[in-house]
């Protein structure tokens, strides 16, 4: 039997680029010291009140626009009530009921393995993150630094047909959050968390008829894209096995969690035990109207995104799809490239430097482009030294590696390494004349057709310790032989 898979995603991404938290004046930044980034409201001390961070709303609206969602006319928030130690107020301020979310019903195109795919966005909404907790044997600790950090929750319809599609979508979204200066979207910092729902149906049935859909299984708290892929594939296999063994019909709608250690999904609760969150409108935040002017100004701030840059690199710069894809993958790398090009660098050569040398260095050392000493200006200088014949292209790679390792300016390194090429005609000519004078017999051999030319070049290089400009040297040797 063949099966069709239906996958939906809930992607939570912390907004990291606001100065303060979403309903609190505490700083929104990652701090190593627990409980150092908090205001009374983050711990729900009696009498504290939420105050909406306009910047966070703006970023949420920006994301909604990029996703092609319908925008609300008014913004208001709701309370989602439940008890948990990491939720100091006993409720989370969020947006649930339409039309409250910052965006609903979008249609979004993304690319998976070179193919264009479409996913329906149910909604995207702004909410606050909970505190984080660590559990030890006999006790747990709570860190309220994360409590109140703005969080964007994006809910898709079950339009993904494979783990690859789901992960491709998540990667696209991560890139969008980075390019639009909404979030670093770094899963290592816990900024991205996903809930995945998976169901299977017989592939010959009509998928537009809900009667044919399988039983939905939600997998909570998958915290890396790799985890998403593995959890989906595990769950598909598990559900197919149930089908094949005739036990599928006994499976109830349920919530499971992804367990990294056993690489499996584990039963949490069945649908009948679903929590009633008793939503109601947050009374402490007045409903406010979105002005068309403000929305327009937000729309105007949407920068060029990865997909647009990639198209530009291919059609205008003539880069290969492969190189363009690599460069736009990380915003910082793409920005590095753009700046180098803006300084006047050759678009293809600059791309080549990045993909072949610089990215290799980053990968090898497991660092990011913002951590290296090399700037776009320095890369351009190195490229220019080659262009103007001051150093050879072989030397230029050596200079670059020294810039990275020694943290010194290229011009200084060229001097220190004694690499500056001799491109002065009279200096080279003087040496050439001397070499030719010493070997009249070899000039004869040359004229007879023997290859003695390389010997002359070698002698000049030896005399200049390799600094003579090779092409200029060859040219002068030819001229001087012809003169004789």
């Amino acid at each position: 039997m063949d099966y069709k898979v239906m996958i939906g995603l809930e992607m939570h991404c912390e907004i990291s680029e606001t100065n303060t938290k979403v309903f609190s004046s505490a700083e929104n930044s990652y701090k190593d010291i627990p409980n150092s980034n908090i205001r009374p409201v983050d711990m729900a001390f009696p009498g504290t009140l939420p105050v909406v961070n306009k910047e966070a709303v703006k970023m949420a609206l920006k994301a909604s626009m990029i996703l092609g969602c319908q925008l609300p006319t008014h913004i208001y928030f709701e309370r989602k009530n439940y008890y948990y130690p990491d939720l100091p107020k006993g409720y989370q301020i969020t947006q649930e009921t339409k039309p409250a979310p910052v965006g609903s019903y979008g249609l979004f195109k993304y690319e998976c393995k070179g193919e264009e795919k479409t996913v329906r966005i149910n909604n995207i909404h702004l909410e606050e993150d909970a505190a984080s907790s660590d559990h030890y044997g006999s006790f747990s600790t709570i860190n309220y630094n994360r409590a109140g950090v703005p969080l964007l929750e994006l809910v898709t319809e079950p339009d993904f047909r494979s783990a690859d599609e789901a992960v491709a979508f998540l990667e696209t979204m991560r890139s969008i959050y980075q390019y639009a200066d909404i979030s670093e979207a770094d899963s290592r910092k816990g900024q991205i968390r996903c809930d995945v729902n998976v169901s299977i149906m017989e592939s010959d049935k009509d998928e537009t008829d809900p009667k044919n859909w399988g039983t939905k299984v939600e997998i909570k708290n998958v915290n890396s894209f790799g985890g998403v892929r593995e959890a989906i594939n595990y769950e598909i296999d598990r559900q197919i096995e149930l089908k094949e063994s005739g036990k599928y019909d006994e499976m109830e709608q349920q919530t499971r969690r992804w367990d990294e250690d056993s690489m499996s999904t584990i039963f949490m609760r069945s649908k009948v035990d679903a929590i009633d969150y008793k939503y109601f409108v947050e009374p402490n935040i007045p409903k406010f109207k979105l002005s068309p002017e403000w929305l327009e100004s937000i729309r105007a701030e949407i920068p060029e995104l990865a997909s647009e840059r990639k198209a530009k690199y291919i059609s205008q710069y003539g880069l290969s799809d492969y190189d363009a894809t690599i460069i736009v993958k990380e915003k910082d790398i793409s920005n590095f490239y753009e700046e180098t090009v803006k300084l006047g660098a050759d678009v293809k050569k600059a791309a080549n430097w990045l993909t072949s040398v610089i990215l290799g260095y980053l990968n090898k050392n497991e660092i990011e482009i913002k951590d290296i000493y090399l700037t776009p200006k320095m890369l351009f200088e190195i490229m220019d030294l080659v262009e103007s014949g001051k150093i050879s292209s072989k030397q230029s790679k050596e200079v670059l590696m020294h810039v990275l390792d020694d943290k010194k300016e290229p011009a200084l390194l060229v001097k220190e390494l004694g690499m500056e090429q001799i491109s002065d005609d009279s200096t080279i000519r003087e040496i050439v004349v001397k070499v030719l004078d010493e070997h009249p017999d070899l000039i004869e051999d040359h004229r007879k057709g023997k290859n003695t030319f390389d010997f002359f070049v070698g002698q000049v290089m030896k005399a200049t310790r390799g600094k003579a400009n090779p092409s200029l040297t060859a040219e002068i040797i030819r001229e001087e032989i012809d003169k004789r």
Binding site: P50, N81, Y83, S140, K278, F280
Partner: protein, 484 residues
């Protein structure tokens, strides 16, 4: 000397003239606090180390006052009269208290209330019941019971209160003093322990409209910590106070007509008779007063609307009370047991009942029938009152069904119509209307009150009407007599 029975303006003059010092006033107020504590049990905390402050041109400077115990006060025990917070000492003060401090006001005690403002009897605080200084066999009403008792007993000229249903305005009537809650958001709620956020108001209890104007002038102001607060800097209540106000008032037939109460007792009959006498007097001094009719079914819905909305908001607002971050922490093993144990042991039965109802009306299957319908009827009532304000400057109504109730009084059969008379002040909270209660007469030697409620932002108009009526009655600045 008995300074604490004087008005704010009189005290200010005495201070400026050097007849008395701030230190003297505080000493007297503290002595009276201890007397009133012994007699009526009005305080949770008496600040025996309160110090005098320099007297400035500010009317409130150097004068002592009391604070209801649901205001967060830095470094001073703030319990909300609840066992859940019996050891809670905040590290920040409510904005309204900071505002009073900046005007030189000196806090001398924290007053007993019904637990977290829930209840209208003054009998549910964790430190015991508050007795009425006019008659110790009677209640003060609530929830601002201690504040009302202390002001009526002459501990100081004013104490802060809070009002979610009628918690300032009813105790004021029962204690023969003035109770004023301004338009919603005029005074910041930051630092006020919430009961039902969409209905909660800060306000004050005084012995004259003039004092109420002076105090609220100092308490009010837009606050960056409370998004529902608004800029009222153009409203100067004391400066614009006028005891020769004219205007058009109305009272509601269904509430004031004795024929509407088939089971009326002697007190109710006298109360309504007295109210109509005052109405005649108001006409005589130039007010135009009309009787209006409001749909009885709509009026009958008031108590249910109040219960559903306030209990629902309360369950959520008080979910932060888990004993984990503040309050006496339970020593149970798991966090669920800790929360359960703390809440079970420390909340009074009345609050628990309200939580159960609040939770019930918010459940997914009940929410539309109860919570959303209550909000719809709230809107209908507010619209009706707004319609009245198109034609009338204010609505004038009697407060309650008579004077303060006996503690051991027979549990009167509150028929629906009686309930409307008891609960109609809640309309002031539904609409956020400015609303003031002033004493309006005596029944069997006990004070009764009337209420003037106007449209939002028309606080000056409401106070001027009240001040004009007050000037033509004999109860301004009255103190509780007897207290036996």
């Amino acid at each position: 000397m008995n300074y604490m029975s004087k008005s704010i303006v009189e005290l200010h003059k005495l201070l400026k003239d050097g007849v008395v010092t701030s230190e003297d006033l505080i000493k007297e107020s503290l002595e009276k606090s201890h007397f009133v504590q012994d007699e009526y049990n009005a305080f949770v905390t008496i600040l025996d180390d309160a110090k005098g402050v320099p007297v400035t041109d500010d009317l409130l400077s150097g004068i002592p006052y009391g604070v209801k115990d649901n205001y967060s006060t830095k470094g001073v025990l703030s319990t909300g009269s609840s066992n859940t917070l019996r050891d809670y000492v905040p590290f920040f003060s409510a904005t309204a208290i900071l505002n009073l401090e900046s005007h030189g006001a000196v806090m001398v005690n924290k007053t007993v209330m019904d637990e977290f403002g829930m209840g209208g009897t003054g009998t549910t605080g964790h430190t015991g019941i508050v007795l009425n200084p006019w008659d110790k066999k009677r209640m003060c009403a609530g929830s601002s019971a201690g504040s009302a008792a202390a002001v009526a007993a002459g501990v100081y000229p004013y104490a802060t209160g809070s009002d979610t249903g009628d918690s300032i305005r009813k105790p004021a009537a029962y204690c023969g003093i003035v109770g004023y809650k301004p338009t919603y958001g005029m005074i910041s709620r930051y630092g006020l322990f919430p009961y039902a956020s969409s209905l909660d108001h800060c306000g004050v209890l005084t012995r004259s409209v003039e004092d109420a104007a002076i105090v609220v002038d100092a308490m009010k102001g837009i606050d960056k910590n409370d998004m529902t607060s608004w800029d009222s800097s153009n409203i100067k209540l004391y400066e614009s106070l006028d005891t020769h106000a004219k205007g058009k008032l109305c009272y509601v037939k269904e509430i004031c007509d004795i024929n509407n109460y088939p089971h009326a007792d002697e007190e109710l009959r006298l109360h309504l008779e007295n109210f109509m006498k005052v109405i005649d007097k108001c006409r005589a001094i130039g007010f135009e007063i009309e009787e209006v009719s409001v749909n009885q079914t709509l009026l009958n819905a008031i108590p249910a609307v109040y219960s559903v909305i306030s209990y629902a908001e309360a369950t959520s607002n008080m979910s932060n009370l888990t004993g984990i971050i503040f309050g006496p922490r339970s020593n149970k093993e798991t966090y669920i047991e800790m929360m359960k144990d703390y809440r079970t042991k420390n909340f009074s039965p009345l609050i628990k009942r309200r939580f159960v109802i609040g939770s019930y009306v918010l459940q997914a299957q009940n929410k539309d029938r109860y919570f959303h319908n209550a909000q719809r009827v709230r809107r209908l009532l507010v619209d009706k009152w707004k319609e009245l304000y198109k034609k009338y400057d204010a609505v004038i109504l009697p407060v309650g069904t008579g004077p303060a109730k006996l503690f051991d009084g027979k549990q009167e059969m509150l028929d629906e119509v009686n309930a409307v008379l008891e609960e109609h002040l809640q309309i002031g909270n539904f609409g956020g209307f400015p609303s003031i209660t002033i004493p309006s007469g005596f029944i069997n030697g006990l004070p009764v009150g009337l209420n003037v409620t106007g449209n939002c932002y028309e606080d000056s108009k409401v106070l001027n009407i009240a001040a004009t009526i007050e000037a033509n009655l004999e109860y301004k600045n009255q103190l509780a007599k007897g207290g036996k």
